[in-house]
């Protein structure tokens, strides 16, 4: 058969196309369509928030605070480095005058017989509506979810600590060293962190995703902490704010913190 250059090129082109299509189809045949879905048990909310009842905490005594912090730290493999400069904080206590510095006054603190100065107040990431940490993060390792949670993606964090400078609440901590050996009891269901990443409270998003309340809330037997959806007018948190006077930390900064303190 006489073969011209033209027919040769046509056949070569077609067979190349055929080969390409074949391998592409192969890839599809193996991969197929897969899907990713949310666990049906997951708690759903429009705007998660937490209410800290300081009055109830005073009634329950310091053990209640300790129990909450312990519950959080053991669930999330938070290391105890024993050095305040390297401390990793998710949920911790601050003296009242540090938690609410703009309200601090030696006369205001005389409210009770013992005085309120130094009263330990539970503090954590405020999961702000307008989070400065998210704005400054150069890698989008920290981001705000649609339900208001300010979330960390440890895989992306480069440890630049801009977020630590941005956060007015000191809610973020850098892992100056490998935390592995400083974790008392490892919870195998939750990862640890590595040296050089910043971490913080995540409102227990891994527990919300399977229908559980945050670990600290669960550890509070007298409902000193209440977690819920601000987007739902009938939620427990909204009811609490309707019937109690509550304040937030440093609201004047405009970050719209979503942890409310009943005082």
């Amino acid at each position: 058969m006489e073969q011209t250059r033209r027919t040769f090129l046509q056949i070569a082109g077609l067979s190349a196309l055929g080969f390409a299509a074949h391998s592409a189809l192969d890839a599809f045949a193996v991969a197929g369509p897969s899907d990713y879905i949310v666990d049906p048990k997951a708690l759903k909310g429009k705007r998660w928030a937490m209410v800290v009842d300081v009055k109830k905490f005073i009634q329950s005594g310091p053990d209640a605070l300790k129990r909450c912090v312990e519950a959080c730290h053991s669930t999330h493999n938070v290391p105890d480095l024993g050095n305040p400069k390297e401390e990793v904080k998710w949920l911790w206590t601050e003296p009242l005058e540090h938690a609410f510095p703009e309200q601090s006054s030696e006369y205001l603190h005389d409210f009770t017989k013992e005085g309120l100065k130094g009263l330990p107040v539970l503090v954590l990431c405020n999961h702000c509506d307008n989070p400065p940490c998210v704005r400054v993060c150069p890698t989008k390792a920290t981001f705000k979810r649609e339900d208001g949670l300010v979330m960390m993606d440890m895989h992306r964090c480069i440890g630049c600590r801009y977020c630590m400078a941005g956060c007015p609440f000191g809610a973020r901590s850098l892992n100056w060293r490998d935390p592995r050996q400083f974790i008392k009891t490892q919870n195998p269901d939750y990862p640890m962190r590595t040296r050089g990443v910043v971490e913080k409270c995540t409102f227990c998003e891994e527990r919300l995703a399977i229908g559980l309340q945050p670990a600290c809330v669960e550890a509070c037997k007298n409902k000193e902490l209440v977690f819920g959806d601000m987007g739902d007018p009938n939620s427990q948190v909204r009811q609490l704010l309707k019937t109690n006077f509550a304040v937030r930390r440093k609201p004047q900064l405009g970050t719209q913190p979503q942890v409310y303190y009943i005082v």
């Binding site: 193996v30 991969a31 197929g32 369509p33 897969s34 899907d35 990713y36 879905i37 949310v38 666990d39 997951a42 493999n77 981001f143 979810r145 979330m151 993606d153 440890m154 895989h155 490892q186 919870n187 195998p188 269901d189 990862p191 640890m192 962190r193 590595t194 998003e205 995703a209 399977i210």
Partner: protein
């Protein structure tokens, strides 16, 4: 051909040097490692050829879906549902990191950073594994 001797010798030397890395690796690399497969489960989340070639991409996709999208359940093409978790789902069947992950990764000299943070399961005891 002018200087045929020199040119042919030159070509041979060139070919020798050029193919040396490939041949060297052929000789010095041992046989591919035998991985310890789960005794009970026969099916992974995806077919074996896909897992062999693309498990790292699948894991990256799982990571992004869980952390960034909040989806925690993976539905594979045959409709089976899995919780996307390295330490709970993958390692539930592949109980031994040493005899599964590490064998191949060490052979290929790759060091994924998964276990910097994720907690590896306790290795099954040697006597019981076999």
């Amino acid at each position: 051909m002018y200087n045929a001797g020199k040119i042919i010798v030159g070509i041979l030397i060139f070919l020798g040097v050029f193919t040396f890395p490939v041949l060297y690796n052929k000789i010095t690399t041992g046989p591919p490692p035998k991985l310890e497969l789960p005794a009970k489960e026969k099916e992974c989340v995806m077919p074996t050829p896909f897992m062999k070639a693309s498990h790292m991409e699948l894991l990256n996709e799982w990571r992004d879906q869980v952390v960034r999208e909040g989806n925690r359940t993976f539905v594979n093409p045959t409709g089976v549902k899995f919780t996307m978790s390295l330490s709970s789902t993958c390692m539930k069947c592949h109980t031994s990191k040493v005899n599964f992950c590490d064998r191949c990764h060490n052979y290929l000299n790759v060091s994924p950073k998964c276990w910097d943070c994720h907690i590896e399961p306790k290795e099954p005891q040697a006597g019981r594994a076999q």
